[in-house]
Amino acid sequence: MTRYADMPESVARHLARLPLPEMEGGAFVLGPPLSERRVAVVSSAGLGRRGDHPFGPGAVDYRVLPADADANDIVMSHISVNYDRTGFQQDLNIVYPVERLNEMAASGEIGGVAAHHYSFMGASDPAPMQPFAEDVAAAMQAEGVDTALLVPV
């Protein structure tokens, strides 16, 4: 289900109506080979740690997910009901693939995995997220992360 034509009509109609930000003159950052990159996950699934303030309508901020957080400590408070959550219930890695990244780091395919990952909630207007995203970029650089894997729901 990746193109409108493959989705239920009501879902496709909704997605086609969403305003999309215009991104003129985007940057393109080069970097070292994959085997030397340190990777962080940025999810838009509205993930947080159990007890974190849940995401609500219009939320543009983010939650920090320590890489060593127990899988049972990660919950989802995305406001949308128009995507599947049962995959996430069965296997955290389907939206937050930190175990897979750890395996790739252990085998040397990537240089390492960040100590912290991040989650926004994708249903909100992205423009006010910019200062929060810049804070995330600064936090990544402070811990030597050069690459972000962005994972939606």
Binding site: M1, T2, R3, D6, P8, S10, L15, L18, L20, M23, G26, A27, F28, V29, L30, G31, L34, R37, V42, G48, P54, D70, I74, V75, M76, I79, V81, N82, Y83, D84, R85, G87, F88, Q89, Q90, N93, I94, V95, P97, R100, L101, E103, M104, E109, F120, G122, P126, A133, E134, A137, A138, Q141, D146, T147, A148, L149, L150, V151, P152, V153
Partner: protein
């Protein structure tokens, strides 16, 4: 999601985006995007299939060696179905809620939770985790606040200080998670649409959520209208709404 990649890249972080909506990915033109043909909510394709998830991850991360962008590539394969998938059935045969009289949802939902709890416990043991709990309530309190409101009462919010609309929304999400975690306790695949049809069509909790959304949509409070109109009933189940 996609705009975040631009914001990060401008600050010096290289990004690769997994995209579930191809037309959005085309429109926003991130530096590097892997468009995947999977169901919304399943960006890595298939739960409990580490080999397939690794294939998706490698396809995404391999885009990082491109010298210029924007790069938009498509993952070629659909998500595999579980090898042992031969249809799904809830481990507990719940009574059909059709004949329930008005005002009785609280008891019916409490009964369902009692019947499902052994399977929810089993699911939690098998997976080592549960996704229930974002509301901060235990499941009995979540069910109580939802079904009392659905029954026409004025629920006393047992949780942290926040608006009733937020409490109801989070409690509804936890209730759905509890039901579908219990219903998938036994190994084997379950299609998400089957689980959704079961919850909304065959459980008292589904009926409670339908009644809740109908009442909330008619309230004067904007937060209640929002959850009633948009944040409880999936579009794929819209045919069950009476209003």
């Amino acid at each position: 999601m996609c705009a975040l990649a631009h914001y990060l890249e401008r600050k010096g972080i290289a990004t690769v985006v997994i995209a579930l909506v191809h037309e959005h990915a085309e429109a926003i033109a991130n530096p590097r995007t892997l468009s995947v043909p999977f169901e919304l909510g399943r960006p890595l394709g298939a739960p409990d299939d580490p080999a397939f998830q690794l294939r998706v991850l490698r396809a995404a991360l391999d885009l990082l060696d491109r010298p210029a962008g924007p790069v938009l590539e498509e993952f070629p394969d659909p998500a595999p179905e579980p090898a042992d998938y031969d249809g799904w059935a809830c481990p507990v045969s719940l009574p059909r809620p059709d004949a329930a009289s008005a005002g009785s949802l609280e008891r019916l939902v409490a009964d369902e939770i009692a019947r499902l709890r052994p399977w929810w416990d089993a699911a939690k043991d098998r997976r080592g985790r549960t996704t229930v709990g974002a509301s901060g309530y235990d499941i009995e309190d979540a069910a109580r606040i939802v079904s009392r409101y659905a029954d026409g009462g004025e629920p006393k919010d047992p949780g942290p200080e926040r608006k009733l609309s937020r409490s109801l929304k989070l409690a509804c999400d936890d209730l759905m998670a509890f039901y579908t975690e219990a219903a998938t306790a036994q190994p084997g695949g379950a299609a998400s649409q089957d689980l959704s049809d079961w919850f909304w069509g065959e459980t008292a909790a589904g009926r409670a959520l339908l009644a809740l959304r109908e009442r909330a949509a008619a309230e004067d409070d904007k937060g209640m209208q929002l959850i009633g109109n948009l944040l409880i009933l999936p579009r794929s189940q819209a045919h069950r709404a009476r209003t």
